[in-house]
C-alpha cells in the first residue's frame, strides 16, 4: 500500500507514538499571532518556562487588531512583542511590516513542501497549498509547540478531491471551494486532510491554491493540500535557489512527496467545474451556498475585500477590473484591506488603489479587520455584507449582521449594484 503526502510527512517528522491512534510530530514552523499566543506566553512565564525551542522556527505577527484599538489589544500586542524580543525571534512583524498571517508568511518564503506547521488559528490549513502539513491548533498545542517544538495529532486520514474540467471565465478558486464545502457540508471532512487534485488545480497559481486550501477547515478538514509542483517551485524560487541547482531539481524533489497512486483514502470525490457559475453563502454556515443567480437582488450595506482567503494581489486585480470607472451604489460602504504591505505597495504601483478609491472604497492597512468583527468594519444589527472572507457564522462581523461569502469579483459587483448580482452580466 502506498502512502499519502500527509503520511509521508508524518513518517519523516515522527517524534513519538504515544498510542496506537496518535503521533507526536517534530515541527518545522510554529506561527504566532496576538490573539491566541499571549495567554500561552503568560502561562509559560508563570510556570517559569519562558523560553522557545528554536527562535528561527517561530514566526510572529500582529495582524488581527492592528494598530491596537484599545488598552486590551494594546496589551496583547505588547505581550507578543516583548516576548519575541526577549526570545530573539527575528521574524517578528509589527505595524508597518505586518499583514494577515496566512498571506504574509507564504510571501516571506516561510512555507515549504513537506513542512509541518502549526498556528493558533484555524485557517493555518491555507499553507497546505505548498504541499505542507499545516494545521490550526489551540493555545495549549501552541504553547507546547513554542516550548518543545512538537505537536500531537491523531493518525491522518485523507480524502482525495479531483477538480476536473476547465474553470469558466469569471469563476474562481473561491467559487470552487464554496461549492465543495456545500457538497461536503461543514462536517464532511472532519479529522481528514483534503487533497486537491486534477487539471483545474494544476492550472491554478499559488494564490488560487491558497484560497482553495484556506477554506478546508470550513468543511471540518484538518488541512487542505495541493501536490507541490513547478508552480510551487517557481513561487518559492527566490527563497530556495541556493538549495537546488535548477527549478527542475526542486520539482523532482517535490514530486517524491506526492501521494502514491495506490495510497489509501477514506473518500474519493470528483467535481467537474466546467459549468460552475459564481457562488455565495446565504445563511450562517459556510455550507449554505447558492449561486449568485439564485441570490440575485439580495441588498447589501457593505462590501469587504480582504482576508487570508482573498486579500492577495490577484484578488485585488480581479475586484479592480470590475470597479474600474464605476462607483459604489448609493448607500453601500466599501472597505479594502490589502492582506500584506507588499500587496498594498504592488496595488499602488499598478494603480489599483486609485481604482478602489475612485469607486468610493475606504482602504485600510493590512489586517484581519472586519472578517471576524474584532476591529474595523463591524456591521450594525440587520446589516448585510458581501465579503471575500471565509466565515459567515452568526455574529461573525458584528452582532445581528449577515455575511455573504463570495469571490472578489462578485463582491465588487455587489458593491456597484447595491445587491448580490452575477458579475459576469455587468
Amino acid at each position: 500500500m502506498g502512502k499519502t503526502i500527509t503520511e509521508k510527512i508524518f513518517a519523516s517528522h515522527q517524534r513519538d507514538i504515544p498510542s496506537e491512534e496518535n503521533m507526536v510530530l517534530d515541527l518545522d514552523v510554529v506561527m504566532c499571532h496576538e490573539i491566541t499566543t499571549p495567554i500561552a506566553i503568560n502561562d509559560l512565564v508563570e510556570r517559569n518556562l519562558d523560553r522557545v525551542f528554536d527562535p528561527d522556527k517561530i514566526k510572529v505577527v500582529i495582524d488581527h487588531v492592528t494598530p491596537s484599538k484599545d488598552s486590551k489589544t494594546a496589551l496583547q500586542a505588547k505581550i507578543l512583542r516583548d516576548w519575541a524580543f526577549r526570545n530573539s525571534i527575528t521574524d517578528f512583524f509589527d505595524i508597518g511590516k505586518n499583514g494577515v498571517c496566512h498571506a504574509l508568511f507564504p510571501e516571506k518564503g516561510f512555507v515549504r513542501p513537506g513542512y509541518t506547521i502549526i498556528m493558533g488559528d484555524s485557517h493555518t490549513c491555507t499553507h497546505g497549498a505548498f504541499g505542507a502539513f499545516a494545521a490550526g491548533v489551540g493555545t495549549t498545542d501552541l504553547e507546547v509547540g513554542i516550548l518543545k517544538g512538537v505537536c500531537s495529532f491523531r493518525l491522518p486520514q485523507s480524502m482525495k478531491i479531483n477538480i476536473e474540467g476547465t474553470l469558466p471565465e469569471g469563476v474562481f478558486a473561491k467559487d470552487v471551494i464554496l461549492y465543495i464545502v456545500k457538497e461536503l457540508t461543514v462536517n464532511g471532512a472532519t479529522n481528514k486532510v483534503m487533497e486537491f487534485w486534477g487539471e483545474v488545480v494544476d492550472a491554478m497559481d499559488m494564490e488560487s491554491r491558497m484560497t482553495l486550501c484556506n477554506m478546508a477547515i470550513e468543511a471540518g478538514g484538518t488541512c487542505g493540500v495541493c501536490m507541490p509542483d513547478r508552480v510551487t517551485a517557481e513561487y518559492l524560487w527566490p527563497f530556495i535557489k541556493d538549495q537546488y541547482t535548477t527549478i527542475d531539481a526542486a520539482v523532482a524533489e517535490f514530486e517524491t512527496l506526492h501521494s502514491d497512486a495506490d495510497a489509501d483514502y477514506t473518500d474519493e470525490l470528483t467535481f467537474n467545474v466546467s459549468d460552475l457559475i459564481p457562488q455565495a453563502t446565504y445563511g450562517f454556515k459556510p455550507d449554505e451556498v447558492k449561486s449568485v443567480v439564485e441570490l440575485e437582488g439580495t441588498p447589501v450595506d457593505q462590501v469587504y475585500i480582504g482576508s487570508c482567503t482573498n486579500g492577495r494581489i490577484s484578488d485585488l486585480r480581479e475586484a479592480a477590473a470590475v470597479l474600474k470607472g464605476k462607483t459604489l451604489a448609493v448607500g453601500v460602504r466599501g472597505i479594502l484591506a490589502p492582506a500584506t504591505p507588499l500587496v498594498y505597495a504592488t496595488a499602488m504601483e499598478e494603480g489599483l488603489i486609485k481604482i478602489f478609491m475612485d469607486a468610493g472604497f475606504c482602504v485600510t492597512n493590512p489586517t484581519c479587520g472586519a472578517c471576524l468583527g474584532m476591529s474595523n468594519g463591524v456591521l450594525a444589527k440587520g446589516e448585510v455584507c458581501a465579503s471575500t472572507t471565509n466565515r459567515n457564522f452568526n455574529g461573525r462581523m458584528g452582532k445581528g449582521g449577515m455575511v455573504h461569502l463570495m469571490s472578489p469579483r462578485s463582491a465588487a459587483a455587489a458593491g456597484i449594484k447595491g445587491c448580490i448580482t452575477d458579475h459576469r452580466e455587468l
Partner: protein, 172 residues
C-alpha cells in the same frame, strides 16, 4: 483529575460553532476567568438562556460536530471557568476536541442512539463519568442509563496528567 459529574445542559443542535460559544470580540481578554460571563452568548436556541442555564450545569450533552470553526481555546476555557469539564456529543470538530483533552477535560463521543437516549431522560438529568472504567451513568425522570464509552489511551493520559503541557513537559 477534574470533576466529571453533575447536572446536564442539553444543547439540541448540530454544528454549534466556536463563535456561538464565545464571540470573537471577547478574544481580547488575557485572562481565562474574564471570559466566564460571555459563555454561549451568541447561541440562539429555543428556550435557552445562557445566563440562567449554564450556572446550573457541569456537563453538556449535544449533537454532532460540536465546536466547529475557529481554533480558539477560549471556547474550552469558557466552559472550564464555568465548572463544565465534560462535553458529550455524537462528534466534535478536531481542534475543539483536542483542546478539551489538552486542558485535561473530556470530549466524549457517543453513537447517535446513546445521545438520543440521554436526551429522552428528560430535562433534569445528572451524569457521572468514570474515566478509568470508560463508562458513564445518566439519571433523570426516574430512569438510569449505564453507557460504555471509548477513550483513547493517549487522551486518558492527558486527562490524568491534567493536560498536554504537563504531559509534554515531562516527556519531551
Amino acid at each position: 483529575m477534574k470533576n466529571f459529574s453533575g447536572s446536564v445542559l442539553f444543547l439540541d443542535r448540530s454544528d454549534i460553532n466556536t463563535d456561538e460559544i464565545i464571540p470573537a470580540k471577547y478574544l481580547t481578554e488575557n485572562s481565562k476567568i474574564d471570559l466566564g460571563p460571555f459563555v454561549l452568548e451568541d447561541l440562539k436556541l429555543e428556550g435557552f438562556d445562557p445566563q440562567r442555564d449554564v450556572a446550573k450545569a457541569q456537563v453538556i450533552v449535544t449533537r454532532n460536530n460540536f465546536g466547529c470553526g475557529s481554533s480558539r481555546e477560549h471556547a474550552v476555557w469558557v466552559f472550564e471557568v464555568n465548572d463544565i469539564n465534560v462535553v458529550i456529543a455524537e462528534g466534535f470538530a478536531r481542534i475543539f476536541r483536542q483542546n478539551m483533552f489538552n486542558c485535561g477535560m473530556l470530549a466524549i463521543e457517543l453513537p447517535a442512539p446513546d445521545i438520543d437516549a440521554i436526551f429522552a431522560l428528560g430535562t433534569d438529568v445528572a451524569i457521572a463519568v468514570d474515566v478509568e472504567n470508560e463508562k458513564l451513568s445518566a439519571a433523570g425522570g426516574g430512569n438510569t442509563l449505564e453507557l460504555s464509552l471509548h477513550l483513547n489511551s493517549f487522551d486518558k493520559d492527558l486527562v490524568r496528567a491534567g493536560g498536554w503541557l504537563a504531559y509534554a513537559d515531562q516527556k519531551y
